[in-house]
């Protein structure tokens, strides 16, 4: 068993010559001068020393956030190009450019300059498409990254603040994307703005005032594009950059989380050094993301604004949709019943206010407070740097899947007309179905996911107790056939047992022996115990070291099942409850050897 290489390992490209750094290489010599110059002015050597060999763990899912970061940088670069030609003005002109099918039509400067960018500026269309694909990927990657963080529990202490920064980034990223979608002033973006106008208006009490302030008067006015433009190119990107800086600084300070595995503990981080491996990998990945987005933009047409025509408030097109990240809000608005109250001379437009404004607020509130809810339930105040495998926290995973399925139902609602025409079903039927599905599907998803997680845990236990399939079939003297099992490797066994199952909190006595209230039996505490039971009641009990040793001996000794079970139960280290739980898990998973064999390790 090799000892892990220490952090001051020689920085060499070949393992065979570990003594090379002592003789300064040519690169080293050449860099010495400038490095000295810089250090004498900036004192960067100390910073470099402590950070250059910082360790990052390797896992594909840790790169999702990087995709978002790179896509944002790509949007910044392509966006700067676009600003050189785009004219954020709603002044009306007559189009005399080279796109023939719009010749002579009245349109805004913004739309005309977008058409000009697409047809008259070499590379302009490419940059527009890079910017749009980049924006879609930026938000998609943020969501994917957030899901990874959620399902692995990476938001737990000490990373709650970073989770909040991430939630803020998604919220602001969506606003940024929507502002950009509205800028070209084509038929779709104008229709989107019309929707926003209705949405702002629907806010009780202050809606009309907000509408007049935002649009500078009545819709559409002549100033909204200019206002959105400055928000889109300066204000919001500035905020996003600040949040990204804080987000990354915290990643560096906390060090990256890692998945459980041999040698990986709460107190260390195992991986590759920032310099050179991670710099090459992360830097290389930037170029891969950039290259992939450019290739997508070269071959996949996005937002062909010249076909939509200039915005004209009396026109609309079938299939008017926002970009995908606003699709769920659109869907919620579509499937909402037409509820409105008329109280005195006022109108309370629930049919728009609830699904658009309230629902969006609700999503980000739930996302923001979730880490604190879980912390309240578990009362867990310790730091966590080892990720939880999603199966090892079934309730959280189930919550996540339920939320995703609810989101997906809303999202389908946003495309209900496309679904209706593509799958030849009735538009009205799709809408009625989704009205129920947004409530029913998450519940089903929750139950199913939780059961799947628990049975996956049991299959882990089964694999530890009965070993892995060896592929060798034994024939017994009686003529029966059985596959020989071998114990799993020490590494895998450690990985499978490294998690800490939580216990259901128990209600502490509300009064001590002398009858004085301890302040612990209150409603809040009882709710916490209830929540804890909901979260952790049906977790399979973790195996003890004695059971594991017994199981290993048993697998090697080819004893039969019954004996093992009686042994396991006889060691008396468990409560009555967990025994039955265990034997139950055995019974359930005994027939699932095949499944256990394919469990990824």
């Amino acid at each position: 068993m090799a000892r892990p290489v220490s952090t001051d390992a020689p920085d060499s490209t070949t393992v065979e010559t570990p003594d090379r750094p002592e003789q300064l290489g040519p690169v080293f010599k050449a860099a010495a001068g400038p490095a000295k110059w810089a250090d004498e002015r900036l004192g960067i050597a100390g910073l470099a020393r402590s950070n250059l060999r910082k360790v990052f763990p390797d896992h594909w899912s840790f790169l999702l956030g990087e995709i978002a970061l790179y896509a944002f940088i790509i949007c910044l670069l392509s966006g700067v190009f676009l600003t050189l030609w785009f004219r954020p003005s709603m002044a009306e002109i007559e189009y005399e450019g080279s796109y023939q099918l719009l010749r002579g039509l009245p349109m805004s400067e913004a739309y005309a300059s977008t058409i000009e960018l697409s047809f008259d500026i070499r590379g302009g269309l490419l940059m527009r498409q890079i910017h749009h694909w980049g924006a879609l990927l930026f938000i998609a990657a943020m969501f994917a990254h957030m899901l990874r963080v959620f399902f692995t529990g990476a938001f737990r202490k000490p990373r709650e603040l970073n989770w909040l920064l991430g939630v803020g980034l998604i919220a602001i990223g969506m606003i940024e994307g929507f502002a950009g979608y509205s800028l070209p002033d084509d038929l779709l973006s104008g229709t989107g703005l019309r929707f926003v106008d209705g949405l702002v208006r629907s806010i009780p009490v202050v809606g009309t005032w907000l509408e007049f302030l935002v649009f500078g008067g009545e819709f559409p006015g002549d100033i909204i594009v200019a206002r959105l433009y400055i928000a889109h190119v300066l204000l919001i990107p500035g905020i996003i950059l600040g949040l990204i800086a804080a987000h990354l600084a915290l990643v560096v300070y906390h060090k990256h989380t890692q998945f459980p595995g041999p040698g990986r503990t709460e107190k260390n981080v195992v991986g590759y050094p920032l310099f050179p491996v991670y710099m090459a990998k992360a830097g290389g990945f930037f170029f891969i993301v950039f290259g992939a987005i450019i290739l997508m933009s070269a071959t996949m047409q996005i937002n062909p604004v010249w076909k939509y025509g200039a915005y004209n408030p009396e026109q609309v097109t079938a299939g008017s949709q926002p970009d995908w990240y606003m699709g769920w809000v659109e869907g919620a608005v579509r499937i909402m019943p037409g509820w409105e109250s008329h109280i005195g001379g006022t109108t309370w437009s629930w049919n728009v206010f609830l699904p658009a404004v309230v629902l969006m607020g609700l999503l980000f509130t739930v996302m923001g407070v979730y880490p604190f809810i879980e912390q309240w339930v578990t009362k867990d105040k310790s730091e966590h740097h080892l990720l939880e495998r999603p199966r090892n926290n079934p309730t959280r995973t189930a919550f996540g899947i339920a939320a995703m399925s609810c989101y997906a139902m809303f999202w389908l609602g946003g495309g209900n007309d496309i679904i209706a025409t593509q799958f030849h079903v009735s538009l009205n039927a799709v809408t009625y179905f989704l009205r129920a599905a947004v409530f029913v599907v998450p519940v089903i998803a929750f139950i199913v996911t939780k059961r799947i997680c628990i049975s996956l845990q049991r299959s882990d236990i089964d694999r530890l107790l009965h070993g892995a399939e060896s592929g060798i079939i034994d024939r017994s003297p009686e003529g029966g056939y059985a596959e020989r099992h071998v114990p799993v490797s020490d590494e895998e066994a450690f990985m499978l047992t490294e998690h800490q199952p939580r216990k259901v909190a128990e209600l502490e006595a509300g009064e001590d022996e002398t009858g004085v209230s301890t302040g612990k039996g209150g409603l809040k505490e009882r709710m916490r115990v209830k929540a804890s039971g909901f979260y952790y009641a049906d977790q399979p009990e973790k195996l003890t070291s004695e059971e594991l040793a017994e199981a290993k001996a048993h697998i090697l000794g080819h004893e039969d099942h019954a004996e093992l079970e009686s042994n396991a139960h006889a060691n008396g280290s468990q409560s009555e409850d967990s025994q039955s739980e265990d034997s139950q898990s055995d019974e359930i998973t005994a027939g699932e050897d095949e499944q256990a064999g394919t469990t990824p390790s």
Binding site: S61, L63, E94, A140, Q315, T317, A318, D323, T421, H424
Partner: protein, 288 residues
């Protein structure tokens, strides 16, 4: 026109300009158009008899022996030859069964047979006639129509420019009157209760004009008094130009707009980059 350029912003000038340009096109068309097809000469009595015979075998069971209509199908008296040409030419008729929306399919009758039935129905009463080609298409200026040399070039460029200005207004009319149901590029859209507005891609201009005039099934009527033949021709030409155009930015992704784009961003974008991420972080083959 150039002298009046200061007045060009006035919306009325656009209308005036459209009328002028359309009449110009009409004159231009009249001088260069091929002779109109034989249908312009009016149906012969033998054609009507032939049509009546075909009608009695193929259509009368639903529309009545004398086109008076039954519980299965509406009366055809007064619908006109254009209606027959549209319904049968696009294969909607004969329908398999009465339905809220009768789908288009490959046509069952030959062109001659359809013409005969149309002539028969057209002879019953006034109605929408089968339009001439000039009513639904515009002549695109060709370089050959103009004299060689620089002056010819200029005249050609000017004529082409005028042509596109008319087509662009056709596009504006299309987006005002049609795109709400048929989508901005005529690929169709959803209607209530399982019905849909069909795609206009690859549909002959004649059928589009007939549909506008007769208002088949759920589609509203757009009569010649409100949208003139010239305007309709500009709209149809806009669609043809749009469909004849190559994509500028690559794969069209089905033309579903942002929903489709979002789907591909996830599938190709996030999916593809995750494949790269797995390659980047996977431990490679080991020596032992």
């Amino acid at each position: 026109m150039r002298l009046l350029s200061s007045r060009r912003r006035h919306p009325a000038t656009r209308a005036l300009f459209l009328a002028l340009a359309l009449s110009l096109m009409g004159v231009l068309y009249a001088t260069v158009a091929p002779t109109a097809p034989s249908s312009a000469e009016g149906p012969s009595s033998t054609q009507i008899e032939e049509g009546q015979a075909l009608y009695r075998t193929g259509c009368a069971s639903c529309h009545g022996l004398n086109a008076e209509g039954t519980s299965q199908g509406p009366t055809l008296i007064g619908v006109g030859a254009g209606s027959v040409d549209f319904q049968m030419g696009t294969g909607r008729m004969p329908a398999a069964a009465p339905h809220a929306q009768i789908p288009a399919k490959p046509k069952v009758y030959s062109d001659d047979e359809i013409a005969a039935i149309a002539a028969y129905i057209g002879s019953l009463d006034l109605g929408i006639a089968i339009p001439d080609i000039g009513q639904y298409s515009m002549e695109k200026p060709a370089r050959g129509q103009f004299p060689a040399g620089h002056d010819g070039d200029v005249a050609y460029e000017t004529a082409l420019d005028e042509y596109y200005r008319v087509v662009a207004i056709g596009g504006e009319l299309f987006r005002t009157n049609c795109s709400a149901c048929h989508n901005y590029q005529g690929t169709g859209g959803a209607l209530p209760g399982g019905k849909h507005a069909p795609s206009l891609e690859g549909v002959e201009g004649r059928y589009i004009l007939e549909a506008m005039r007769i208002g088949p099934q759920q589609m509203p009527v757009f009569s010649a008094d409100v949208i003139s033949d010239e305007e309709a021709a500009a709209m149809i030409t806009y669609l043809e130009e749009l469909h004849g155009q190559r994509n500028n930015g690559g794969l069209g992704l089905g033309g579903f707009g942002p929903v489709g784009e979002g789907l591909w961003a996830w599938l190709i974008g996030i999916g593809g980059l995750i494949c790269f991420a797995i390659w980047i972080t996977r431990k490679g083959v080991r020596a032992k």
